[in-house]
Symmetry: C2
Subunit: 259 residues, 2 copies
DNA sequence: CCCAGCGCTTGATCAATATCAAGTGGGCAA
DNA sequence: TTGCCCACTTGATATTGATCAAGCGCTGGG
């Protein structure tokens, strides 16, 4: 499957590849291939060896973990993000299952060549370390979110985060099924319904996948968003350089570039 | 505070520094200093800028997160481990506060010099990426542990993990106060007591900080440890090379080398 | 030696979340 | 169009975990 040059540029523009030498980048792309997957495809199973670094170019994907016949969503990924980086770096087995939620275009880069590129190109190795740092911090936020907040607080913060990521208007569209959201937020679908019902008093109106926040101030007072948990409200209006990439990782919701 | 050469060697032997060029290592150590802290000292507050990479040489330390006057322990660190690496790499604010639990010897390495070393020494940059990958995967395990298991299951797995890390004998010593363990496992101290009580039927006897596992098979059947959550039972008896460093990260309990 | 404080436990109660069981409505296929 | 399936909702109930309130036992200071 040949890559369109538009897509190559989008990948090249990722923080992960921005600082790589042109030669490094060309080598990585040379052995890579772009593939289309229908919705609901399992890309990689928990416990399997990882042969590729994945880059979601278009569509929507999900990372989930399993234990004892229970299942939980660890992250929902949107374009453009890489995933499974940590396993690739260590040449280890996957700790999470990766699944497409929508029909998706996914770039697969040989894991072996990624490891080689790191050794040969210090700039790229640094970029990998920075990417992983961002992913790591995203997960720290996730754990804090999970351990310190109750269900409706998690939902409230998710909604506020989605609101800004969707332009700041009063109404936002849930990007996937509510059942996935429930799992992501660490509750049952039934409880998500009830959590939405609780937020009615705070001006939250639900209409299918469309949610409207009528009293953002009230909702905010309930949610108590925190820059050390919710990455959407970062103070650094300055510094648009290297270090801001962590901003893409969100604790309550979509964790960009999760591995 | 001059470092003993014994300690220098212990640091040098860390996976993080093993592959670094001698020159890189010397530079890093040159600007570093070793400091002793009494128990209960706050090394770094959540939200503060991070100026140093910390290496716990001796003692016991804790990483905790806060929100809305609630507090949770994210990890308990034992020697020798590094922490706050991710924040150092990104030159970002700390997401967790770091506290000593016991009197501790801590090596502090300039963050600026770490970032410089990464750019100049690809081998070191790769090691940083590998370390971060291990930390990342440790946190993935933590999240799965937290979201998929109930309180007594988490405790049971913690005990089994501690047992192997303390030599595999039937009796083990809790390395810190039970209240810290409770917070680490995501429950209240009261509930930890009750969780211990529940495990009585599975041969768990508690006597102060000393815990004996009389029926390991029964306990194991309850705990259902999983190599994709509990890092203590890794299959890789082979491959003692680079990639095994992740083994030090444990989901249920002490996450070595957490950042 | 005694007492105060603290960590831990235990019991009673309460709140939060999960589970079970219908029931509704929309979309898709026959 | 009809009818079924599936996501979602809602209610009733069960379970789990948190909170509140004593009480116990060890330790360190007076």
């Amino acid at each position: 499957m040949p890559m369109r040059s538009v897509d190559i540029e989008r990948v090249r523009a990722l923080p992960l590849f921005q600082c790589a030498a042109q030669r490094t980048f060309d080598n990585l792309i040379a052995g890579a291939f772009l593939q289309k997957f229908p919705a609901g495809t399992t890309l990689l199973m928990e416990g399997d060896p990882v042969d590729f670094l994945y880059v979601l170019i278009e569509g929507l994907a999900e990372l989930q973990g399993t234990w004892n016949d229970k299942e939980t969503t660890l992250a929902v990924l949107r374009p453009v993000s890489t995933f499974i980086l940590a396993a690739v770096v260590l040449d280890a087995d996957a700790l999470m299952t990766a699944r497409t939620i929508e029909r998706s275009d996914i770039l697969m880069i040989s894991g072996e060549s990624v490891r080689r590129a790191m050794k040969e190109d210090a700039g790229f190795a640094v970029a990998v370390a920075e990417e992983l740092s961002g992913c790591y911090r995203g997960l720290v936020r996730t754990v804090k979110n999970q351990k310190l907040r109750g269900a409706s607080e998690r939902l409230a913060n998710y909604l506020l985060a989605e609101q800004v990521s969707q332009g700041g208007g009063p109404t936002l569209i849930l990007p996937h099924e509510k059942r996935v959201l429930a799992s992501l937020l660490g509750m049952t679908p039934e409880n998500l319904s009830r959590a939405f019902a609780n937020l009615t008093d705070y001006g939250v109106t639900v209409n299918g996948p469309q949610v409207t926040l009528l009293r953002p101030i009230a909702l905010d007072r309930l949610a108590k968003p925190d820059r050390l948990i919710d990455s959407h409200l970062q103070p650094s209006a300055a510094r648009v350089g290297m270090a801001d990439r962590e901003c893409r990782a969100s604790a309550a919701g979509t964790i960009g570039a999760l591995n």
